[in-house]
């Protein structure tokens, strides 16, 4: 029997019991749609995070005082100093270096108050992060030298303190009671991601932060941009050696600082989200298998109902193989159609969900391909046993079947 006839026969059989076929396909549709949706969700999340890290440059090393996140900070004070910064900036392959000192403050402007984070840094930070100002400008080396009372605000801060969004540059804001002049406004960096809102930040000169807000010459973090990606590992070793000398650490002492390689971090995050992807996809795949069981169930019913037809076909010369192929194609066709509809539905839901929630959703082509291949496989696997049963029917008994 030629393929066209087989498909025509399968299509006709499916359309005889429209309601039944639709309900059976629904199991596959829901399974495929959830696979597509889950993949879109996790791919979108991954892309969002990695994009942000990549935007900051992967040729970047971040140095923090060991335990700088908490314990040591209080006990041993800052482990990083201006001398460290000077020593590192003298190293080869260092393109830009930005020391940073962060603290939480209460910002007020007019009658509005907002809790935010102040980051004291140098103009190098703007170069490393590639910020383009949406209004005004960044502070200069001169401002750093003079510990100028100037501030560059992130978009979340600007929206909260200046809701009318007018004349932000030039206005005055109070940080923990100190008066600063806003000289620049940063564009939105995008929502979400790890480590909270990147736009809920105020940048001021490092010296101002140290002297007026932190009271000391503490440096919490040093961001170093390498002149070339390839020298990153070498530079990391150089910095380690330099800092150990600077801090006069004994041979057997542990480092009192940590160096984070952005490229490494990126690959760690990618690994994590890949596992998340697989997990979500796996859960969705379970529902596809449940759909497959529904297909098998209905195919078994169909084989029984059509015993007589099987007998007629065998009497006029259909081989067992012919019968088996016919039923296999029928269940595969049902699942392929379910897979196609499910892919469209999943894609549509992902787009809708993305628009409503503002989350980044990405639907890679491979997920559509995979869903359709997988649903075809489900059709073939779960259709096999019913098809086999049909093929093994005894023509005489099948003909006699009422």
């Amino acid at each position: 029997m030629n393929l066209r006839m087989i498909f025509r026969t399968a299509w006709r059989s499916l359309s005889v019991n429209k309601m039944r076929s639709v309900l059976t396909a629904l199991g596959i549709i829901i399974g495929v749609a959830s696979v597509i949706l889950m993949v879109a969700l996790s791919q979108g999340a991954t892309a969002g995070i990695t994009e942000r890290i990549a935007a900051n440059g992967t040729n970047v090393l971040v140095i923090r005082a060991a335990g700088g996140m908490g314990a040591l900070r209080g006990a041993g004070g800052s482990a990083l100093t201006a001398e460290d910064v000077k020593a590192i900036s003298a190293l080869p392959y260092v393109k830009e270096i930005a020391p940073e000192a962060e603290t939480n403050v209460t910002a007020t402007a007019g009658s509005l108050t907002w809790s935010t984070t102040v980051d004291g840094t140098t103009p190098a930070a703007q170069a490393i992060k590639g910020w383009k100002m949406s209004e005004g400008g960044f502070f200069t080396e001169e401002d750093v030298d003079n510990a100028a009372m100037v501030a560059v605000v992130g978009s979340t801060v600007a929206e909260s303190l200046f809701p009318d969004n007018k004349n932000i540059v030039g206005s005055v804001i109070n940080l923990n009671g100190l008066t600063f002049t806003v000289i620049g406004l940063l564009p939105a960096q995008g929502a979400g991601g790890m480590g909270g809102d990147q736009d809920n930040m105020i940048y001021i000169p490092l010296t101002t932060a140290q002297q007026r807000l932190l009271g000391g010459n503490e440096i919490r973090m040093i961001t170093v941009q390498a002149s070339q990606q390839e020298s990153l590992a070498f530079l990391q070793d150089l910095i380690t050696t330099t800092l150990r000398q600077q801090h006069r650490l004994a041979e057997d002492a542990e480092d009192d600082f940590r160096i984070m390689d952005m490229a490494q971090l990126l690959s760690t995050i990618e690994d994590t989200t890949r596992i998340l992807s697989l997990l979500l996809g796996g859960i969705a795949a379970v529902s596809l298998i449940v759909g497959g069981i529904g297909v098998m169930n209905i195919m078994l019913v169909s084989v029984t109902e059509r015993t007589r037809e099987i007998g007629i076909r065998m009497a006029v010369g259909a081989t067992s193989q012919d019968i088996q192929t016919q039923f296999l194609i029928e269940s595969a066709l049902l699942c392929v159609i379910g897979g196609l509809v499910g892919t469209l539905l999943g894609g549509g839901l992902a787009a809708l969900f993305g628009r409503l929630s503002g989350w980044n959703m990405q639907m890679p082509l491979w997920s559509a391909g995979l869903a359709i291949v997988f649903s075809t496989l489900v059709g073939l696997i779960f259709g096999y046993y019913p098809a086999r049963r049909a093929a093994e029917a005894d023509p005489i008994e099948a003909l006699r079947y009422e």
Partner: protein
């Protein structure tokens, strides 16, 4: 295209849950010329079993069966399917047409399994439907046709692959007298004009009178074999 169909000492026993049933206990039958043969007998005499074995739907337990050059006893399931497809046509009491399928597609069915292209199959099915007197009804479905018309479609389907043997199991059992006569006349005509061997299982004597030979079965054995008057007289009327 006369072929030699030869059954010798065929036995067939069905092993059900109860005692085994000896459906055939040594039946011999030779068809070596295009003739119409009626197989008669009470129910349980083994005529359906004989029909199934003749039609290669079932294999005998013992004896020998040769169909042309084929030794049916040694053939596999798929080889039997091939034989049914190319050399044998079936007509059933209840027509056994595919539901929701047009007359044309029903007639095409054996050709589909024979690997004939759709275009060629439809062309031949058209001709065959014309031959059985159903020209113009190609697209009718079984629900849109009378019993007689449905049986004509079944006959067209049985003949489409130009078989050597046509097997009819109570072909007029579901038809009224006039339609039965029409169908029998059609079969007789095909037998004469196409040199086709036809074996008819029936319990109606009037139907058997269309045949050249009447074989009577009882308890799995042939009890009588007579040359029917149809061969000599060529008509039914004189024998009623």
């Amino acid at each position: 295209m006369t072929v030699n169909i030869c059954l010798e000492q065929i036995t067939k026993t069905y092993y059900g849950t109860e005692t085994p049933v000896k459906a055939l206990r040594g039946v011999s039958l030779v068809l070596d010329k295009p003739e119409m043969v009626a197989i008669m007998g009470p129910s349980g005499s083994g005529k359906s079993t004989l029909m199934n074995i003749l039609g290669c739907l079932d294999k005998p337990d013992g004896g020998s069966y040769s169909f042309a050059d084929y030794d049916v006893m040694k053939m596999s399931r798929d080889q039997l399917a091939y034989l049914r497809n190319r050399r044998i046509g079936f007509v059933f009491q209840n027509f056994n047409l595919l539901a929701r399928t047009s007359a044309l597609e029903n007639v095409c069915l054996p050709l589909n399994y024979a690997g004939v292209s759709n275009r060629e199959a439809e062309k031949r099915a058209h001709e065959m439907l014309g031959l059985v007197g159903l020209a113009g009804r190609e697209q009718h479905r079984s629900t849109q046709m009378s019993g007689g018309q449905q049986q004509r479609v079944a006959i067209a389907r049985a003949l489409i692959n130009q078989p050597d043997l046509l097997l009819a199991d109570e072909p007029t059992g579901a038809l009224d007298t006039q339609t039965s006569a029409d169908i029998m006349n059609l079969l007789q005509k095909l037998n004469r004009e196409q040199a086709l061997s036809i074996v008819i299982v029936t319990h109606e004597p009037e139907i058997a009178l269309y045949c050249d030979r009447i074989i009577r079965l009882r308890d799995g054995l042939i009890i009588s074999e007579e040359t029917a008057p149809a061969a000599a007289a060529g008509g039914k009327e004189e024998n009623v």
